[in-house]
């Protein structure tokens, strides 16, 4: 295997990994501020891709479609929290799981009613002429994926570290009661976490759609892989989510390079099971999730 081949596999690993990282961030943000695992997270990813595809097909400029998809999905995230999760805040984890599963069935089905069951293509953001990089050929869209992930991660860092909302989110992840005592509107923070996780999922779906194509049923598998990444990095830890996503992507493309591509989709899931069972706090996690 030449160094160009290795670079090729690393690039595709990072590309997939960046997508897993964005989806994982969505899981982690919601988990940190609510303790809920949102089984509809994968559908946010699906919505992103499908809404962009629909927008482009309807003649809306690509940039506007992407922005629209992110905004709409973010609103869907807020709506799910406000309409169906807030009324049952005190219910047990199983009830919350089932409710988010119900949401995911509805979202998936609505998109199928609206846009049909077929696969949809999305044009690349800036041409399809591969860029030569140290002997490897990289699709420009891959650079878009990596770039947008970096921007999203940087934006989140700023939000978390230096804004009042970020401070409130961190406070909620420590203790809802204490946050409320110091005057934080925890209900609003929770809703915005869902909105933010919707936006991140949609962004991932939109930016990767030109490479993978998209369909109404791509959400479940991506949701699982994103969750695997989030658990790998330690659920509730945004840095961990990004690291977990990239590690997972590289592991996957490593498995493809060394063994074969046949079971590529199983790699992330096996990693998920192994981490859940052996090291539920994640590879870089310090504290054990108390929900275990």
């Amino acid at each position: 295997m030449t160094s160009a081949d290795v670079l090729q596999f690393v690039a595709s690993g990072l590309q997939n990994g960046a997508i897993y990282a964005l989806v994982a961030l969505g899981f982690t943000l919601v988990f940190a501020s609510t303790g809920i695992i949102n089984f509809a997270q994968g559908e946010f990813y699906m919505l992103g891709g499908m809404l962009v595809a629909a927008g482009v097909a309807a003649g809306v400029p690509l940039g506007v479609s992407v922005a629209g998809a992110v905004v709409i999905t973010s609103a869907v995230g807020c709506l799910i929290e406000r309409a169906v999760l807030r009324p049952v805040r005190s219910a047990g984890p199983l009830a919350l799981i089932i409710i988010t599963i119900g949401c995911s069935m509805l979202l998936k089905s609505w998109i199928r009613h609206l846009f049909g069951p077929d696969e949809r293509a999305v044009p690349p953001f800036s041409g399809s002429e591969p860029v030569a990089l140290a002997g490897a050929l990289i699709q420009p869209q891959v650079l878009w994926v990596l770039g947008i992930t970096v921007v999203a991660a940087a934006g989140l860092t700023v939000l978390y570290r230096w804004t009042r909302l970020g401070l409130a989110m961190r406070a909620c992840s420590i203790s809802h009661d204490a946050a409320r005592i110091v005057g934080i509107d925890t209900a609003r923070v929770v809703m915005l976490s869902f909105g933010l996780s919707g936006a991140l999922g949609a962004l991932a779906g939109a930016v990767v759609a030109p490479i993978t194509q998209t369909a109404y049923d791509v959400g479940a598998r991506m949701g699982l892989k994103g969750f695997a990444a989030a658990v790998l990095g330690g659920l509730g830890d945004p840095v961990g989510a990004i690291v977990g996503g990239l590690v997972l992507g590289l592991l996957e493309s490593g498995a493809v390079a060394v063994v074969s591509g046949t079971y590529k989709d199983a790699v992330a899931l096996v990693v998920l099971l192994l981490v859940l069972v052996l090291r539920p706090q994640g590879i870089i996690g310090r504290h054990l999730g108390e929900k275990l």
């Binding site: 089932i98 409710i99 119900g102 949401c103 069935m105 509805l106 099971l273 859940l276």
Partner: protein, 325 residues
């Protein structure tokens, strides 16, 4: 008293089901009702695991699939008699369930749900990719009909009676389990694990056993499915079925067998409504079929919100009060 009455009704209904082929002669309708019987077997297993013991599994479609492929392969490649292959399939599925349940002991709630969902996806990938065994996406055709010696059950009515007879037996067995000591142990650990432990329930052993039993029942149903349909492909064993099964148990209610059975029957029939109501225009039937996920999803959300607001009755005292060891 009321429970007695309910059980009598279910039993009579079950026996009456066996007589349906005497009245219904439409082959397609019989096939659909056979599917209802198969799903009944699976959902009884999941009701034991989820409804009684409180352990969620979003991977039961995978056990169903494992049973189907195992039995088909045992007959087709190893020439095993049908009865043995079905038993073998149930055992293999139960072992798979055991293999999931033992490491799964460390997980609960969200994490168990995700892990079993992950297991289902892994098996979906395996069903597609392990072509020499499963035939891949093209599926596995020519699975022989059930047979005892040279006597082959190949008419829709014979298959119907076979499946429903097994379903009735499974229901009787499950009813006995939930009424006896293991059933009380399951309910106890559902209410409070520390409480169950303190009452001398071996929580880990109960969880693993009920998981293996539940997976075994799914495998049994899968094997019957393979032989009655004759053709199996990965699309029958995907996440959608797992979710539908969990939905049936949720809608059917905690600590109930008849509830989930009825819910699953309704959910199954919804998908074939066109065939069952001959007067229904084709378009209306297709529209209903198209909207099944919406109906299920919306009902799930509405029921859970209503329940969370009303406050579910807790039967801790009842379960623990009878020495649930």
């Amino acid at each position: 008293m009321r429970r007695r009455l309910n059980e009598a009704i279910v039993f009579v209904a079950g026996v009456a089901m066996l007589a349906v082929p005497a009245v219904v002669t439409d082959r397609y309708v019989l096939k659909v009702l056979t599917f209802v019987g198969l799903n009944t077997i699976v959902v009884i297993g999941l009701a034991l695991l989820f409804g009684y013991a409180g352990q969620v599994s979003l991977g039961h479609a995978a056990f169903f699939g494992i049973g189907a492929y195992t039995s088909a392969r045992l007959v087709m490649s190893f020439g095993l008699p049908w009865v043995l292959s079905v038993v073998g399939a149930a055992v293999v599925a139960a072992l798979a369930g055991w293999a999931v349940a033992v490491p799964g002991l460390r997980l609960r709630g969200h994490y168990l749900a995700m892990a079993t969902l992950g297991f289902n996806e892994i098996m979906s990938v395996a069903f597609v990719e392990a072509r020499p065994v499963t035939g891949g996406n093209d599926g596995l055709g020519g699975v022989p009909f059930p047979s005892f010696g040279s006597f082959e059950l190949k008419t829709p009515s014979a298959l119907f009676v076979l499946v429903w007879a097994v379903a009735l037996l499974v229901w009787l067995a499950a009813r006995n389990i939930v009424r006896s000591r293991p059933g009380r142990a399951m309910r106890a650990l559902h209410c409070t694990e520390p409480g169950a432990l303190a009452s001398g329930v071996d929580v880990a052993a109960v969880k693993v056993r009920v998981f293996a039993l539940s997976a075994g029942l799914a495998g049994l149903a899968g094997a019957l499915f393979a032989h009655s349909v004759g053709f199996i492909s990965p699309s029958s064993f995907g996440l959608d079925l797992s979710v539908l099964l969990v939905a049936a148990v949720v809608l059917g209610g905690r600590e109930s067998l008849s509830g989930p059975i009825v819910a699953m029957a309704v959910l199954t029939l919804l998908q074939y409504l066109g065939a069952l109501l001959p007067g229904l225009p084709r378009q209306a039937a297709e529209a209903i079929q198209d909207w099944v996920p919406d109906i299920v999803g919306a009902t799930l959300i509405a029921v859970l919100i209503a329940r969370a607001r009303g406050g579910a009755p807790v039967r801790a005292k009842e379960a623990l009060g009878r020495g649930a060891r």
